[in-house]
Amino acid sequence: MALDANTVISAASALGAGIAMIAGIGSGIGQGYAAGKATEAVARQPEAQGDITRTMLLGQAVAESTGIYALVIALVLVFANPFLG
């Protein structure tokens, strides 16, 4: 198989998509930490469960952003590659 430019770009893009998703580690740790702290808070103050859950979800949504950006970059690299000629 001839190694033309598009083959190399496709291979590199697939690798890049995989590497981009490493960012998922950060948002995963962040969301887990928030959930753990929320559990502690609910254990301490069960009557404030509604407020705590709401705040936790809001914080997790913001923490998720970086992971979602990585996902979007990975999706672009796989499905709508801008580098392919």
Binding site: D51, R54, L57, L58, A61, V62, E64, S65, I68, Y69, L71, V72, L75, V78, F79, A80
Partner: protein, 216 residues
Amino acid sequence: MGQGPQELFQLFGIPVTDTVVVSWAIMLVLWIFAIFASKNIEMVPSGAQNAAELFLEAILDLIEGMMPNEGKRFLPLIATIALFIGMANLVGIIPTVPNPTADLNTTLGIALIVFVATHYYGIEKKGVGTYLKEFIEPSIALLPLNIIGELAKPISLAFRLFGNMAGGGVILGIIAMFVPWVIPVPLMAWFDVFVGVIQAFIFTMLAIAYISVARG
């Protein structure tokens, strides 16, 4: 898998995608439901009116929690966004119907509405001078950072919803390639119902939070 929105037909030379058609269908369903629920309003609600009141009061409580005594004012905007996104996320559970929110055009459109509303309500409450002055606080050196911070809000809002719904669709597509039967069904329930409801809630909450922050 992952083809994105498909062009169905042209209307006066403007291409109409399946996203738009599904959005119209959702609007029609919501409109009919609203007419049905508000046809004869009673003091003791029942049926459709009960469901509508339950939903609206939940949204009203969310807004009142962040902006006391101003809930009624923002209810139309926020509840419309919540209803539309909720329906758009849930509609994906019907096979072959695409999620309108798995298209960046939809999510970015709604995020831009929130963006414009945020700044409009902020300026209306504080006045132009005070509002613009907040961009050079605590020092003028932070002006570019503050502007980028404001511009990042609608982008992160749009990409969060889009990434969640499109990502779920891609994962479902990959699973369906390997195991076309049985296994995708609970996953579909997870990605469309659970993630969809959570994301609609988060979008609503963030919209309220942005408006309440802009109003101080």
